[in-house]
């Protein structure tokens, strides 16, 4: 019985020996393989070779120093209150006489810790900072850690060293009026 006239007759005839060898298909497949063999490889041999991730990549945190090498952070706590993951904690201290070359403001962060297990690299701390002190480096990632006690980054690993300054050219970053360089107030 035939319900529609779209039924197709199939033949069950046995293939010949030449057909059974699938030669044209094998040659065609091999040609593709050989073509790829001589192509430029897109794989990047990480970690030996690292790709440039762009100027707005949010990587390793850095606590900036100013032109004179003084720490910019004044432990205002805005990064910590902005942090959605609550990864940042700090303890403030008052600058003593004779430490003016070390710290920019009369208050500084004696302890500044970022828990890298908690951090989601959203960059809100960078946005919140009124002193342009905390940045997420675009050129460096937080390395893989193997032990849990390696994850809490203190000031020893966050403050930028003077021979390894972090520079990001971003014309859109404007100084806020609270910056002493603009308001010219001295405290």
């Amino acid at each position: 019985m035939q319900l529609t006239n779209r039924a197709k007759q199939v033949s069950n005839k046995e293939m010949t020996l030449a057909e059974k060898m699938y030669l044209p298909a094998v040659v065609g497949g091999l040609a593709i393989t050989i073509k790829h063999f001589f192509r430029k490889k897109p794989t990047i041999q990480y970690p030996e070779v690292k790709k440039y991730l762009g100027p707005i990549y949010r990587g390793h945190h850095v606590l900036k120093r100013d032109e004179q090498g003084r720490e910019r952070c004044t432990a205002c706590g805005l990064c910590a209150v902005a942090c959605p993951a609550e990864a940042i904690s700090m303890v403030a201290a008052e600058r003593k006489k004779g430490e003016e070359a070390l710290y920019r403001e009369e208050k500084y962060a004696a302890v500044y810790e970022i828990n890298m297990l908690r951090c989601i690299f959203c960059g809100l701390c960078e946005e919140a900072c009124p002193k342009q002190a905390v940045y997420l480096r675009h050129d460096r990632m937080v390395p893989v850690f193997l032990e849990r006690d390696e994850v809490i980054y203190g000031k020893d690993r966050l403050v930028e060293s003077l021979d390894d300054r972090y520079i990001r050219k971003n014309s859109e970053v404007a100084t806020t009026p609270t910056e002493p360089s603009l308001t010219r107030s001295t405290t």
């Binding site: 009124p130 308001t183 010219r184 107030s185 001295t186 405290t187």
Partner: protein, 361 residues
């Protein structure tokens, strides 16, 4: 017999009528309506006699002086000093002239303010910060050098940052009220005026610490709390103790298990109603000294409530009010009795959203 009760006066502020007793100021009448209508106050402090009229932050426009004389007042008036009259019509936030004047006031108050909020201990509970956030601009037009002063210690516990002072005179009135002699005042004139204690004399009074709570900015700060922590990382808890000199009702500010600051309790207008003594404020900073009453209610909009999770935290009623205002009842005219369905209880067919009902106070 004549009614001995004083006649109540009706005032209309921003279109909301309120009945107040004679002698009430416009500011107090507006506060009676609620925080949405109340003008900001930088220098007026209800518990302090004579305060107010200095900062001009509370300027309002009086559109009609009274029912008998409905002419408008020619200039904006300071609402903290102007008494209400029957039939007075006041425009506060509804008048662009008032808003414009307040923007100007913020700019003037910030002329000499160092804007060192990241360093200042008052940040987060600062009246000037709130006022500037509501009315200020992000930039400054001021190009001259700001006035600078040296930091000064007033007594062993209080530090004066004259650079931050806005000369509201609140601390002067406090010192006048707590002492017999005049020990605390303003020296100099104009730009050079300065809060000072005569001949650098420290206030030895037992209640001198209250000038810290009274100060609307970070000019007078607690030296025992200096740079300890930011207010929004600390947890306020109401507590009391048996104090022989004061009421002993305070707010403790915790960081972890440690009391890092003790302040007097403030009402919703940021005013201290019961002043506390220096022993309570500076010397009893152990949990064992206090009887804990429970967490302080913090306004949802305050930065102090950031990152604090509580089940009974009061959410702003704005969303609910908006939902109630925009809710349209569904006109379902179908005859349910003809449908052979199970009859649902009538509250399932309530025409108003249960969430749209205003929460009972």
């Amino acid at each position: 017999m004549e009614d001995t009760k004083p006649q109540l006066l009706t005032v209309t502020i921003d279109g909301i009528a309120v009945e107040v007793e004679p002698g009430t100021t416009i500011l107090q009448a507006a506060r009676k309506i609620g925080p949405d209508v109340a003008p900001p106050a930088m220098c007026y402090y209800q518990p302090l006699k004579g305060s107010g009229g200095k900062c001009r932050a509370c300027l309002v426009r009086v559109a009609a002086g009274s029912a008998k004389d409905p002419r408008p007042m020619p200039k904006l008036v300071a609402s903290c000093l102007t008494a209400v009259q029957d039939g007075m019509v006041v425009e506060n936030t509804t008048n662009p002239q008032v808003i414009d004047a307040r923007n100007g006031i913020v700019e003037f108050l910030l002329l000499n303010h160092p804007l060192d909020c990241p360093v200042c201990d008052q940040a987060g509970e600062c009246d000037l910060q709130n006022f500037a956030f509501d009315h200020g601009k992000a930039t400054t037009r001021y190009e001259e050098d700001r006035r600078t002063f040296e930091k000064k210690d007033i007594g062993p516990y209080i530090q004066l940052h004259m650079t931050r002072c806005i000369l509201c005179y609140r601390c002067v009135y406090t010192a006048d009220q707590i002492t017999e002699k005049r020990v605390h005042g303003v020296l100099g004139r104009g730009d050079a005026s300065e809060i000072g204690t005569y001949i650098e004399k420290a206030i030895d009074n037992d209640f001198s610490g209250n000038v810290i709570d009274v100060c609307p900015v970070g000019a007078l700060t607690d030296k025992t709390y200096r740079f300890k922590n930011r207010v929004w990382f600390t947890k306020p808890v109401d507590a009391h103790r048996n104090c022989p000199t004061c009421s002993g009702k305070v707010t403790l500010w915790y960081r972890g298990d440690e009391v890092i600051r003790v302040t007097a309790r403030k009402n919703e207008w940021n005013e201290v109603t019961e002043f506390i003594c220096n022993t309570c404020r500076f010397e009893t900073k152990k949990t064992s000294d206090w009887i804990i009453e429970g967490p302080t209610k913090v306004s949802r909009s305050s930065v102090i409530s950031a990152n604090k999770y509580r089940a009974d935290l009061e959410k702003p009623s704005f969303g609910k009010r908006l939902a109630a205002a925009e809710y349209k009842p569904i006109h379902d005219e179908r005859d349910m009795s003809q449908l052979n369905i199970q009859q649902l209880p009538p509250e399932r067919f309530a025409k108003t959203l249960p969430s749209a009902v205003e929460p009972e106070p």
